[in-house]
Symmetry: C2
Subunit: 97 residues, 2 copies
């Protein structure tokens, strides 16, 4: 297993039934960052948690940001950490341009 | 994070496009074993791999078993390791009885 690649964690609240959102997010990240990611880990939690971490760094916390991330912004935040040189195509374009 | 709970890995072949099957499997296991599992990790791989591991133990290998696991049998194999006393309800019943 290639340990130089990133480990991403998605901790989600089971009481709020956020497994489906967490699993959708995992599949999006595994599709976009297939070659940069070692694993995406889904972690059942409680108390309204929805947190995405790259290694030890929290890149999104619903508790702090008071909302779920847009997939586009989450991918940009993760790209900035694990593949800063990468262009995310549509995810990097302003849809109005 | 409760480290006494189990860590499950699902390594899947990206060339074969098995992400959707792997993510479906992860959601089933996270639903059935919500209280026994610390994390379910999806790991992109190649070369036709589809492997499910509990900790270091391989509980299913498509290369060895020459097929994908039925969800029912996979849950029984995992239950036998992480929650041997648990009854899986329908997953433990023979549908013909």
């Amino acid at each position: 297993m290639n340990t130089s690649r990133a480990r991403i964690e998605i901790e989600y609240c089971t009481q709020c039934r956020w497994l489906l959102r967490a699993a959708w997010t995992a599949q999006e990240l595994l599709t976009t960052f297939q070659d940069e990611v070692r694993e995406v880990c889904l972690q059942p939690g409680t108390g309204g948690i929805f947190e995405v971490r790259v290694g030890e760094d929290i890149v999104w916390s619903r508790a702090q940001q008071k909302r779920f991330p847009e997939m586009k912004e989450l991918k940009q935040l993760i790209r900035d950490r694990i593949a800063p040189e990468r262009d995310l195509g549509h995810s990097d374009r302003d849809p109005l341009l």
